[in-house]
């Protein structure tokens, strides 16, 4: 290594150091588990509209929570965004968030999609529903999540791994509804009906349903939307289960203001803007999700999948019962 190269390296190091200390005072700092391409367009739009800079960093929710915790009252973060209720519940539980009272937020976001203590708010809804192969089944063959545990589905069910939080939330909400022992029997029924080992992703699972490796599966609607984008003739269809009972399982992608935010007002304003009419479509449509604000219609493609009754139990339950759900699935040997 030449001397000159060393100098360049040192200069590069110094630049990052210096650029760090030049903090603008009115900017909002966000830690986001929602990935960059789904969140940056919103921040750009917000900056354009309000003039407020948004600085953000993405990562896995669990790591971001530990980062917040370790940084303590010196954290640069003002706002935390995740892609599930479980981690928001956990953040509140760890004392990393603070309650925000905002008429705008409580008006825009339905009560079951936000924290009862106002520490976090859902911004978009992710529906986890049944998907089936149209060459093999009709709507009339299907009814509920629970029904998929029936032995008539033996060798016909595909599932994603139990290690994904979406399945953990689903089972947590089932525990809230049916209690542990009945839910465990249902999950054991699912496992007995599996056509093949659980898949690592919803996309892989849906592709297997479409290819006929199995006939039916449980997945998030936006993965279906992506497959539909790629191949409009794919022999797959969504089915809305539990319409006579609890409703379709929903989770949220949402956010909350951090406990030690240095810019509480800025963070609240950003959160309010994300829940506003203008931003809601931008937030949900980028990923074929549903707006959390019930007044706002989803995209045309998503609307075409039909309307459904969603589960009205507060999504905080999914966080509260997540550990129980994970243990239950381990006992049922759902991998």
């Amino acid at each position: 290594m030449q001397c000159k190269q060393w100098v360049i390296l040192a200069a590069a190091l110094m630049t990052t150091w210096v650029s760090h200390s030049a903090l603008a005072s009115d900017e909002v700092v966000v830690y986001s588990a929602r990935n960059e391409q789904l969140i940056k367009p919103l921040f750009d739009a917000y900056t354009k509209e309000s003039g407020v800079e948004v600085k953000f960093i993405t990562g896995k929710a669990g790591s971001l929570l530990q980062r917040l915790k370790a940084e303590g009252d010196n954290t640069p973060a003002d706002l935390l965004i995740t892609v599930d209720a479980g981690n928001l519940w956990q953040a509140a539980n760890m004392g990393l968030l603070q309650p925000v009272s905002s008429a705008k937020l409580s008006e825009a976001i339905p009560a079951h999609l936000r924290d009862p203590d106002n520490q976090w708010y859902g911004l978009s809804v992710r529906a986890r529903t049944i998907v089936y192969n149209t060459n093999k089944l009709n709507d009339s063959d299907l009814s509920t999540y629970e029904d998929l545990a029936d032995p008539k589905w033996k060798g016909k069910l595909c599932l994603r791994t139990a290690k994904k939080v979406y399945n953990q939330s689903l089972v947590a909400m089932m525990i809230a509804e049916h209690g542990e022992s009945q839910t465990e029997a249902i999950v054991k029924g699912w496992v007995a009906n599996l056509a093949t080992k659980p898949f690592s992703s919803d996309t892989k699972m849906m592709e297997a349903v479409a290819a006929g490796q199995c006939e039916v599966g449980i997945g998030n609607t936006y993965y279906f939307g992506r497959l539909e984008d790629k191949d409009p003739t794919i022999p797959l269809k969504l089915f809305w289960p539990n319409q006579q009972s609890s409703g379709v399982h929903v989770n949220i992608s949402g956010g909350g203001v951090t406990k030690y935010a240095s810019n509480v007002n800025g963070a609240t304003a950003l959160l309010e803007w994300l829940a506003s009419d203008k931003a809601q479509n931008l937030f949900s449509d980028s990923n074929h999700e549903y707006p959390a604000n019930a007044q706002i219609k989803p995209s045309a493609q998503v609307t075409a999948w039909g309307s459904f009754k969603g589960n009205q139990v507060n999504v905080a339950k999914a966080g509260e019962l997540q550990v129980d759900a994970v243990k239950l699935m381990d006992r049922a040997r759902y991998k």
């Binding site: 760090h20 669990g62 303590g72 539980n93 290690k163």
Partner: protein, 546 residues
């Protein structure tokens, strides 16, 4: 070693103490995150632990055992066989294979995994094609122990290959000559002389593979294959118990430390030093007829599976998204990746030289343990190491800020976390083992008689290092830098957690795409990672041939 110690002057003794002190500082740096993890043992999460013990622990341990065993033996056989063929034998295309077989090093294992599952699973093009043309063969299930082992062997064999090839290239021929003079056939010469002589280096390579396998999360999760590390992830991310995750991680570290010590004890009983001068032009063993066809077929199959197929698939996917996704920000991603990888490589290799030299001057137990402790970071799953490194740095940073504020009324915010210092420290801790093993392997080849003759000519201390050791070590240093460079390019969890604002790298880009399962879109940054990783590999190879 003691002979050397007795021969040195007081000045040199002070100097060697300096080495030892520096080695101590480095191993303490690595020990800090490990101790943070160990701290969990004092406040265990009994509820989660009880559950893990009852329902998962046994299965996870068994799964991990088979995976490690399979991957270690697979990389051993593949790496050593290919190294022997390219270093000692002669067959058509040998020169090309010699460097091409290193290329898979640049391909992240989770990428190979995703591509392989994509191709060979029920929904993949192979089985779909067979079904539509009416072929009713049942292919073996790719999402299985065999499948995940195969992918790991293909991804990790270059560690063994690279190190074994260097060993064979410098001593293989001479070993064979010795064997022949004892009346051995070439085959017996390989098994009875060359292989045992190269053993410490080969084992060093396999140790890297074992640690990498133990710490892997990306690859196994593509297969949904549960290991100790997926258990750690489950405890932390799904059951919200960093404590239980740390308890599991502590067991992992203790286990690895025991293997490392055992390996070192086994190595310490023998003295592996070769005659100083490296052989001139070697005469290779020409392979004839079927042997040569088999050699070409073998090497091509490995190349095809480990590099050509994954790379082709990646390029196809990347070309689908390149128009939409490739923008000017990729220059930043690339620049950040390169800068980070270069700085980490330089730091790690500097530290590795200090450790290796300390290890050479001092053969006492303390030094040996100290040096080995410094390599433990490689066995910890990335996020666990990241959090272990982050907590003490954040603590220090908080104290610093509060202190400055109290004394000078100056509030500069968190000073370390806003910079890449945290990230670099964590990366160095992680990849110390990679750098050390390459440097140490080469340093051990310098005989003590060289040291002694240098002493008799008045060279000692830094002069000895600069004028005698470093020139001989050059190849090893370059190998170490390349390995660390490529590993940092591929590294994801530590970069994700500890990077400063605006410091996105290519690997972070891969995360952004895969976080919501958009693997095909992740092809573009993956291709960039592979291409950038190829540069030092090709340079290293040029270097090795001169």
């Amino acid at each position: 070693m003691n002979r050397v110690a007795r021969a040195i002057s007081p000045v040199t003794r002070l100097f060697t103490q300096g080495w030892r002190l520096s080695a101590l500082v480095i191993s303490l740096a690595v020990l800090t995150p490990v101790m943070v993890i160990f701290w969990s043992l004092f406040s265990p999460d009994l509820a989660v632990w009880q559950h893990l013990k009852e329902h998962l622990l046994w299965e996870l341990t068994a799964n991990t055992f088979w995976l490690v065993l399979g991957t270690a033996s697979g990389t051993l056989v593949l790496g050593v066989a290919l190294a022997w063929l390219t270093a000692v034998c002669e067959f058509p295309g040998r020169k090309i294979f010699s460097w091409a077989l290193l290329l898979p090093l640049a391909v992240p294992a989770y990428v190979t995994a995703f591509v392989m599952v994509g191709i060979f699973d029920f929904t993949g093009p192979l089985q779909s094609g067979m079904r539509s043309s009416g072929i009713e063969w049942a292919l073996p299930e790719i999402r299985s122990l065999a499948g995940v082992t195969l992918v790991m062997v293909l991804a990790f064999y270059p560690y063994v290959y690279l190190i074994a090839r260097n060993a064979f290239a410098t001593q293989g021929k001479r070993a064979l000559e010795a064997a022949q003079s004892l009346g051995y056939s070439p085959r017996a010469g390989f098994f009875k002389v060359a292989l045992p002589m190269a053993r410490p280096w080969i084992i060093g390579g396999v140790m890297l593979v074992i640690m990498e396998t133990l710490a892997d999360f990306g690859t196994v999760s593509v297969f949904n294959y549960d290991t100790f590390t997926t258990g750690i992830y489950k405890a932390w991310f799904d059951m919200f118990s960093l404590q239980a995750a740390s308890q599991l991680a502590s067991i992992l570290v203790i286990f690895v430390f025991i293997i490392v010590l055992l390996e070192q004890q086994a190595r310490a009983r023998m003295r592996y030093t070769t005659v100083g001068k490296t052989a001139g032009k070697q005469e290779r063993i020409p392979l004839k007829g079927w042997n040569s066809v088999a050699a070409v077929g073998f090497a091509s199959t490995v190349m095809l599976l480990a590099f050509i197929i994954p790379m082709t698939q990646l390029l196809i996917w990347a070309s689908d998204v390149v128009m939409d996704d490739l923008d000017s920000r990729y220059f930043d991603f690339l620049w950040h990746s390169l800068l980070l990888a270069t700085m980490a490589a330089l730091l790690v290799v500097t530290a590795a030289v200090i450790l290796a030299v300390a290890n050479r001057y001092y053969s006492d137990l303390t030094t040996r343990i100290m040096v080995r402790v410094a390599t433990l970071g490689y066995a910890l799953p990335g996020p666990v190491l990241a959090v272990g490194a982050f907590i003490p740095i954040a603590w220090f940073d908080n104290q610093l800020r509060d202190g400055l504020h109290a004394v000078f009324g100056y509030d500069g915010g968190l000073m370390l976390q806003g910079t890449i210092v945290t990230l670099l420290i964590a990366l160095c801790i992680r990849f110390m083992a990679v750098g050390f093993s390459a440097v140490d392997g080469n340093l051990q080849r310098i005989t003590h008689s060289i040291d002694e003759s240098a002493h008799s000519l008045g060279s000692s201390g830094l002069t000895l290092l600069r004028r005698v050791h470093l020139p001989i070590l050059r190849g090893g240093l370059f190998t170490a830098m390349t390995l660390v460079f490529v590993d940092v390019m591929k590294e994801m969890p530590i970069t994700l957690m500890t990077r400063p604002f605006g410091w996105d790298t290519l690997a972070v880009r891969v995360f952004e795409m895969t976080a919501e399962g958009e693997w095909e879109r992740a092809a573009l940054p993956s291709v960039a990672i592979v291409l950038a990783g190829l540069i030092p590999i090709i340079l290293m190879n040029r270097h090795a041939q001169h």
